[in-house]
Each structure stands twice: as structure tokens, then as C-alpha cells.
Chain length 193, copies 2
DNA sequence: ACAGGATGTAAGCAAGCGCTTACTAACGGG
DNA sequence: CCCGTTAGTAAGCGCTTGCTTACATCCTGT
């Protein structure tokens, strides 16, 4: 049987570090967050961070690894809506949202850019592109991902008004209507199809 | 007449520092660029950077100060098109484009965020909002600025394909059509106006 | 019970950062 | 011609960064 109160618990320490890191990476991005801050918020000696994660970079990768599948699992039709919700309702600190925001916040960092370029971004775009019949469907989906990125940054990082203070539901509805138009419209041609 | 070859020339030194800084800030952003790098590229002793600009932060501000008016001067109708051009044709290193990209690249930095929030972003939004009759015109303009920000980052910083490799003219046309729709559309209402 | 691995701690290293200081060398007006 | 001002230089200060090391302590299997 497990001891009543384990003061030495590798699993709990790892989890505490992971949670502290997720919060700080989401708030400040990768570069501005120091390993000492993470250890302090976790209430843990900072040497343990390196024992359990190897490096700051690997810790960051583990934080980002959380979200990959959860959002992508649902139906394509509501994918954009769900991502927007995670982006706009930033009050609560759900783990998926934290890791999404850590990704946005750290887009200047090579590791985050690579993840967005080669894995996450591609996965989103593949799904979003199925909503469009246009031959350049993937480009349109890329533009949508770019929009989400920009909205997240201008809202949470820059704090631009009126966007930062706007009703999330209104913003979401406006973006969704425009996104549908982007995916479905076709350029006017001289031949008139 | 001025001396034949002035080896001691404060104006030229300042200009060299400014140009080197614009290039590096555009390529790497504020935080990743070091004052030693700037001085080295300018071929100048790094102490002079502080003599002529006071601090890295003030040097950055001076780099960003370039673009403020130039783009905003033209007609509103082509404003979006011109910014998109500066964003998408990133081959040549025009000074206005460099400072625009330095701003995007450094959006995680407090100084850049403040400029975008309180000055530049507001100026763009004011003008863009005149293109819409909607009551939330400024919000829509904010969303456009967010889109520009996201496109610039996903293209130049992240390097996401197919966006990064797409024909700038096609991207521009697609974004402009969608932007017009965003500015002009109105939500469907139950009362049917 | 006790050896040995797992867990936690304190201290500090090398490197890099923005910035400053103490100095030399060139210029230009009197 | 000389001297104060200006431009340029070399060195390094104080601090922070990610990461490591040497060591104390606890827990568990046999």
C-alpha cells in the first residue's frame, strides 16, 4: 500500500513542474520564462527540472505535446469554432488552452515554429482544407491559421482595443462567417463558369 | 567643401548602426538581436551605439519610427493592398519593410507591443474602419490587422507551406476579397431589415 | 537491518547579456 | 600652434542565463 503522505514523490514533482511551466510559457512565452521561475512556481529545486526533463527545450516540448490530438478529434465543421473558443475565452486556465497559448506566445522561438510548421499547423490545415472546394484550399486554410495566430497575439499579447475587450461570442461569430466566405468563395472569372 | 574622406563621421556611424539594427531586428526580432551583433554588422565599436542612441531600446524605437507615416499617407482604399505588398514581397530590403517586419518579429517585446497597441495599430484601424458601415467597424478593422500580423508571422517567421511559397499576387488577391467581405457584410437578423 | 538506488538540496560554473568607464587620437577655432 | 571638443577604442563590470556537480536524505527490496 502507498504511504499516507509521500514527501518524496517523483511523479508529483514532475507534474508540478509541468503545470508551472505550462502557465509561465503561456503567460510569457518560451524565451522570457526562466528555469528558475518555473522551479519557484512549482515549489521545487531547479536542479530537478533538469533531472526530469533534460533541458528547458524538452520541458517546453512536453508542455506543447498536450494539445495535439484533443482539438483535432472533434468534427471538422466545428473545429474552427472550438479553436476560437480556446483562444477567446482566456479566463480559465485549462491545460489545452495553456499549451495553445504557449505555442502562440512562443512563435518566435525555433522549436515552437517548427512544431507549428511541420506538425500542428499541417494537421489543422489538412482538416480545414476539406471544407473548401477551391483548388487552393490548403492556402486558404493556411490563411485561416494565420488569422487565428494573429487574433491570439493581438488580443492576448498586444492587448489591442477594441479586440481585447470585445465580446468573445461576437468576435467568434464574425470570424466564423468570414472564414466560411473565405473557404467557399471563388474568384470572379472573365469566362463566367 | 567637406573634407575628402572623413574617417571620423558621427552621422555616417549613426546611419550605419541604424541600418544594421533595422536588418537584424527584422531578421531576428528585438530579443534575439544583441548590441554586439549590431555593432559588428555596422563595423563600429559597440560603445558608440550607446553614445548615439542611449540604449538598445531607444535604438529599436528609432528603427520602428521610420514607417509610421509613409504607408498611412496614401488613399484608404489601397491601404490594405500596400501593407500586404510590403508583407508578401519580402525579397528586397526596403527600409519601410524592414521596420514593418521588425515590428512583427518583435511583437512579444513590450516596446513593440505598446507601439502596435497605442500608435501604429490604432492609426491603421482608424483608417480601415472608414471602409465599413457596420457599427462594429473598428472591431472588424482590428481583426484585419490581426490577420496581417498572423500572415506575416506564419509566412516569414514560421515558414509554413503552402503559404510561404505561394504566389504573393494570389495571396494578396484572396486576402483583399475576403477583407472586403469582412468589412461590408452584416449578420443575418431574424427581423429581416 | 542495511545496501543501494531514488529523491531532494545548495552551490556554483561558463557564457552571454546590456551597459560603463578610462582612455587615445583626430579635428578645428582662437 | 595649441588646446578643448568630438569621435573612436579596449577592457571589463555586474548581472542573468541554462545547466552541472557534489552532497545529504529518504525509501525499498532482500
Amino acid at each position: 500500500m502507498s504511504g499516507p503522505t509521500r514527501r518524496r514523490d517523483a511523479g508529483a514533482t514532475r507534474a508540478a513542474l509541468l503545470e508551472a511551466a505550462a502557465g509561465l510559457f503561456a503567460e510569457q512565452g518560451y524565451e522570457r520564462t526562466t528555469v528558475r521561475e518555473v522551479a519557484a512556481r512549482a515549489g521545487v529545486n531547479q536542479a530537478l527540472l533538469f533531472r526530469y526533463f533534460g533541458s528547458k527545450e524538452e520541458l517546453f516540448a512536453e508542455v506543447l505535446a498536450v494539445q495535439s490530438d484533443e482539438l483535432l478529434a472533434g468534427p471538422v465543421e466545428t473545429l474552427l469554432e472550438r479553436v476560437l473558443a480556446d483562444l477567446l475565452w482566456d479566463a480559465d486556465a485549462d491545460r489545452v488552452r495553456q499549451s495553445l497559448r504557449a505555442l502562440l506566445r512562443s512563435v518566435g522561438h525555433a522549436g515552437a515554429a517548427e512544431l507549428l510548421r511541420d506538425r500542428l499547423g499541417t494537421a489543422y490545415v489538412r482538416r480545414l482544407a476539406t471544407l473548401s472546394d477551391a483548388p487552393d484550399a490548403e492556402l486558404r486554410a493556411d490563411l485561416l491559421v494565420a488569422w487565428l495566430l494573429g487574433i491570439g497575439l493581438l488580443r492576448s499579447v498586444v492587448g489591442k482595443q477594441p479586440l481585447a475587450g470585445a465580446d468573445p461570442a461576437e468576435v467568434s461569430a464574425l470570424v466564423l462567417r468570414t472564414a466560411r466566405h473565405l473557404l467557399e468563395e471563388r474568384p470572379a472569372t472573365g469566362s463566367g463558369d
